[in-house]
Amino acid sequence: MSTTLKVVVTGPFGAGKTTFINAVSDTPVVNTETGVSDDTAALKTNTTVALDYGSFTLDGDGQHDGVELLFFGTPGQARFEFMWQILSEGTHGYVLLLDASRPESIAEATAILGAFREKRPDLTVVVGAGRTESGSAGRAQLTELASTLDVPAAQVIAIDARDPNSCRSLLISLLVLVFTALDSDGTGPLEHPGTIAELDVIAAEVEAEVGADAAAASEGRVPVGAGVS
């Protein structure tokens, strides 16, 4: 038996949403990409026009339920805002990706976050910041991003969307927050593994698989269980 969660992967054009889903999905990915016809082609030649779809399963172990994550990736441009609304229906949490090296990407991500908060103000979000500086400069960048986006610092995480381990580490952070939210209100809309302790068992198994490379790749991410009371 497993729990199924819907996760929206959103963010501005060129933030790495399609790359993220391609990297993390363990099933064939649905992409709806087409060529870029305006001057943003200098940044990227293809863009998603409807959605990306993929999934990832954390296996249970007999004692604990597994978790199946269904990913719905949105188009990034504001003209596709209606798709953000459509895809966010029934979602349990979302990943907001951005390119930390481009101020316009941060501004667009702020607007997207605002659109999601307008419709679902309590929905759990984890921000994946790509192309951050390394070391202390990178940590300062993440702190500033958290302030700009008005998101708790522990929920703003450096990520390399090309690296499956980096993506999965971010997803574990999101899962912890989602289950924490479900536990805290006691009225979760779904049957879920029930306790963060159970999720931590699953997360620990994933962490073991991911190994040391993920720790380096996901510098700055929230440790599993952090902020969980």
Binding site: T32, S37, V49, A50
Partner: protein, 120 residues
């Protein structure tokens, strides 16, 4: 745009019930539209979304390339055509429109969209 006007006039001459014709890029940017209002951008994005889903569905079915998608509502009908690999034609019609005739007409007119596309 004059080439677009010619295409629209040609469509309307043979097909009753056409309310609006929109031509846009496959990534959802409007190129020409018979309706000049604030909905141009979102309408083009919607048409491109339908095209994207249509293409994916056609690929999934394995029965050849996407040609058009028809969305019917109680009082209207929207037909979205792929034009070449990079453009979309969206025709907004009354519910009574003869879609079969529209398909044939658009098929015959496809070459006429080349100058409209080139004018981007």
């Amino acid at each position: 745009v004059s080439a677009f006007s010619d295409v629209v006039a040609d469509l309307r001459a043979d097909i009753d019930g056409i309310r609006r014709v929109l031509f846009c890029s496959s990534d959802g940017l409007p190129i020409a539209d018979t309706l000049d209002d604030a909905t141009n951008g979102s309408s083009a994005a919607t048409a491109a979304t339908i095209l994207g889903l249509g293409r994916h569905t056609a690929t999934m079915l394995g029965d050849g390339a996407f040609t058009e998608a028809v969305i019917r509502s109680t009082d209207g009908c929207l037909v979205v055509y792929g034009i070449g690999g990079e453009h979309v034609l969206a025709v907004y019609c009354t519910a009574e429109v003869n879609v079969t005739m529209l398909d044939r007409k658009v098929g015959r007119l496809k070459a006429q969209f080349d100058p409209v596309s080139a004018g981007v």
